[in-house]
């Protein structure tokens, strides 16, 4: 998320006694005239900023170097297999594809739902009581640990009514599948999509809406053709952040995707069989292969973690690109 670095309050410089010299620039940059506490504050802010940069750089560099040492091209196309040594345990192709599948399912649910909720909250929001309720519900979901969501998912998706979404044997619903994991993961992404979209909608000045009404457009047409296109960068940002959360989530995958390292399709339908079956993602792969995990293949864990990190960094870069593009279109004066 965004971390804003607080700038120290600029104290008004004391009146300058003495002979009139050349006028000094009164732009607040003369730190010599600052109070001690302000100077200290500035130093702390700088220090914290640099510290965070250092931590981020350390994490990224460590995994890039360590991961690059272990990652091999064949790992991308080889599924995991059982073996006694690390060279026999295969790659993470199933995990990589699985990550893609949960990301697609999760965002396919969270994006339309989140945008719709945001539009309703920001543009309609009546009755006010219901709007407040929806708002706090979203906040509650955002604050719920994903392991709790996962546990809840096992109850939901094990119900007979939802048996068509996972494996079921003689009436007993297993409740673990890509559908189940994707659906619960969409809840993880939803608050981010809602929040970001609302931010975008609320940044549009009221007179822009009125300008559209004033040429005879309805609220619906205005929302579809003016407001949503205008907040497209924020919608995209929300989707990217949501994707990052989905891809990075482990708890839901471990609980709802079967804790395996391979695809385990159900039935014979080409695509559906995989979605109904269990599988794995990169996070689960790292979790299982980590030194404390069940399999303990640290080299594979580092390699997969490296790939995961690269994906998330690409998503972050995409957010940056979207914002830079949005700046080119220009915005209104308020």
């Amino acid at each position: 998320m965004e971390t804003s670095v607080a700038t120290p309050p600029v104290s008004s410089p004391p009146p300058q006694p003495g002979p009139p010299g050349p006028p000094r620039p009164a732009d607040g940059r003369r730190s010599a005239a600052w109070r001690f506490s302000d100077k200290a504050g500035l130093v702390v802010c700088w220090g914290m900023g640099l510290l965070f940069c250092a931590i981020a750089v350390a994490i990224v560099m460590y995994f890039l170097i360590k991961g690059l040492g272990y990652v091999r091209p064949w790992m991308f196309v080889t599924p995991a297999s059982t073996g006694f040594t690390q060279s026999q345990t295969g790659g993470f192709s199933d995990a990589l594809i699985g990550t893609g599948i949960v990301a697609v399912i999760g965002i396919a649910i969270a994006l339309p739902l989140g945008v719709a909720i945001a539009v309703w909250l920001s543009e309609f929001g009546r009755p006010a009581g219901l709007a407040r309720l929806v708002e706090s519900t979203i906040e509650a979901i955002a604050g719920t640990p994903s392991i709790v969501l996962a546990l809840f998912g096992t109850i939901i998706f094990a119900s007979p009514a939802l048996g068509f979404l996972s494996r079921s044997t003689s009436g007993i619903v297993f409740g673990r599948s890509f559908f189940a994991a994707g659906a619960m993961l969409s809840l993880v992404a939803l608050p981010l999509v809602v929040g970001s979209t609302r931010e975008g909608l609320q940044a549009i000045p009221q007179h822009v809406r009125e300008a559209s009404y004033a040429v005879g457009k309805t609220k619906m047409a205005t929302t579809r053709r003016i407001l949503l296109p205008a907040s497209r960068p924020q919608v995209a940002t929300g989707a990217m952040l949501g994707l990052g959360r989905i891809i990075g989530d482990t708890a839901i995958i471990v609980v709802l995707l079967g804790a395996t390292l391979n695809f385990d399709p159900v039935g014979g339908t080409p695509v559906l069989s995989y979605l109904k079956g269990t599988g794995t993602t990169l996070t689960n792969y790292v979790f299982q292969n980590a030194p404390t995990g069940e399999l303990n293949n640290p080299e594979k864990a580092y390699a997969a973690a490296f790939v995961l990190l690269v994906i998330v960094l690409i998503l972050n870069a995409a957010v940056d690109v979207i914002h830079r593009r949005a700046r080119k279109v220009g915005t209104w004066t308020t």
Binding site: P205, H207, V208, E210, A211, S212, Y213, A214, V215, G216, K217, T218, M220, A221, R224, R225, I226, P229, A230, K328, V329, G330, T331, W332, T333, T334
Partner: protein, 303 residues
């Protein structure tokens, strides 16, 4: 409404001198009474309804209140095509509320309540679909607010049915062109209609907003302090445009800027605390106001 410092007058005018002190008496040309003045501005002003004037709207004892607090009190005035009506008055006097009542934009404020009658070509606007009314009575706002799309799409959006994308570019192009021409923008942007509208200069953006308001073929054009965010040069371009447009549409302009009202208006309504204190031809309101309040306001005593 925040008070905006009026831009420096672009043409010679001393606001503290009584208006038209050096003016010659009005001379009548044919059926039009035109105020002749020694200065170069306001020469176009019409002091009486021209033969070409068409009654477009009639405001009949209109009152508007926000949660019971009156903002406009029983105002009656005519709005005619062929002349520019300026609504003047200090901040919070209800002139913008009056303007926004003409296309029922005040309805968007939940607390607003209305009384009285407004007709457009003889029909009560309360009996019309708001969307249909707002296509016939379009509006330009204080801040330039083009939509975040290309110049062409800004106008095409108005021409298309609600949220539809239908309507080929080629079929819409003539209407878009004529809209831009009427707003005096075609010469500047005609060769690059794909340019993002928000990247135009402020004055061009505002003229695009006028083009957008005109492309719906309205009978009445409402302008809510259209120049308050613009530099003097753009202001002059838009004022010239307003005077030109009065032949095609009835123009109502709300302005804080007395000089501007003096330059563009044929008729002036002076509002104070929700009342329409005085309504009359610009020449009479500025030169020989009947009411004491008007006299004080136009001579710069308050406001």
């Amino acid at each position: 409404m925040d008070h905006v410092t009026p831009p420096p007058p672009v043409r010679r005018l001393d606001p503290h001198e009584p208006f038209g002190a050096s003016e010659a008496p009005a001379t009548t040309y044919g059926n039009e009474a035109v105020a002749t003045e020694s200065s170069t501005f306001a020469r176009h002003r019409r002091a009486a309804p021209s033969q070409l004037s068409i009654d477009r709207m009639q405001v009949e004892s209109l009152s508007v209140a926000y949660s019971g607090k009156p903002a406009v009190k029983s105002v009656s005035l005519p709005i005619r095509q062929g002349e520019v009506l300026a609504l003047i008055g200090p901040s919070g006097c209800g002139k913008t509320t009056l303007l926004r009542s003409l296309n029922r934009l005040t309805e968007l404020t939940r607390t607003a309540s209305f009384d009285g009658r407004v007709t457009l070509d003889g029909m009560d606007i309360m009996g019309m679909e708001p969307t249909a009314l707002r296509r016939r009575v379009t509006m330009v706002f204080q801040q330039p607010n083009p939509f975040p799309m290309s110049i062409f799409d800004n106008l095409a959006y108005v021409l298309r049915e609600q949220g539809s994308r239908r309507g080929r570019k080629s079929t819409l192009a003539p209407a878009v062109r004529s809209g831009l021409e009427r707003a005096g923008l075609w010469a500047e942007v005609g060769d690059n209609l794909k340019h993002p509208a928000l990247k135009l200069s402020g004055g061009q953006q505002q003229r695009l907003c006028i083009a957008r308001a005109l492309v719906a073929q309205p009978e009445v054009l409402l302008l809510d302090e259209p120049c308050s965010a613009l530099d003097p040069q753009s202001t002059q371009v838009i004022e010239d445009l307003i005077v030109k447009l009065r032949e095609e549409v009835a123009v109502v302009i709300v302005t804080h800027n007395l000089q501007q009202a003096y330059r563009v208006a044929d008729y002036v309504g002076f509002m104070y605390l929700g009342d329409l204190v005085e309504y009359g031809s610009a020449t009479s309101v500025f030169n020989s106001p009947r009411e004491e309040r008007t006299k004080e306001y136009v001579s710069g005593a308050f406001g």
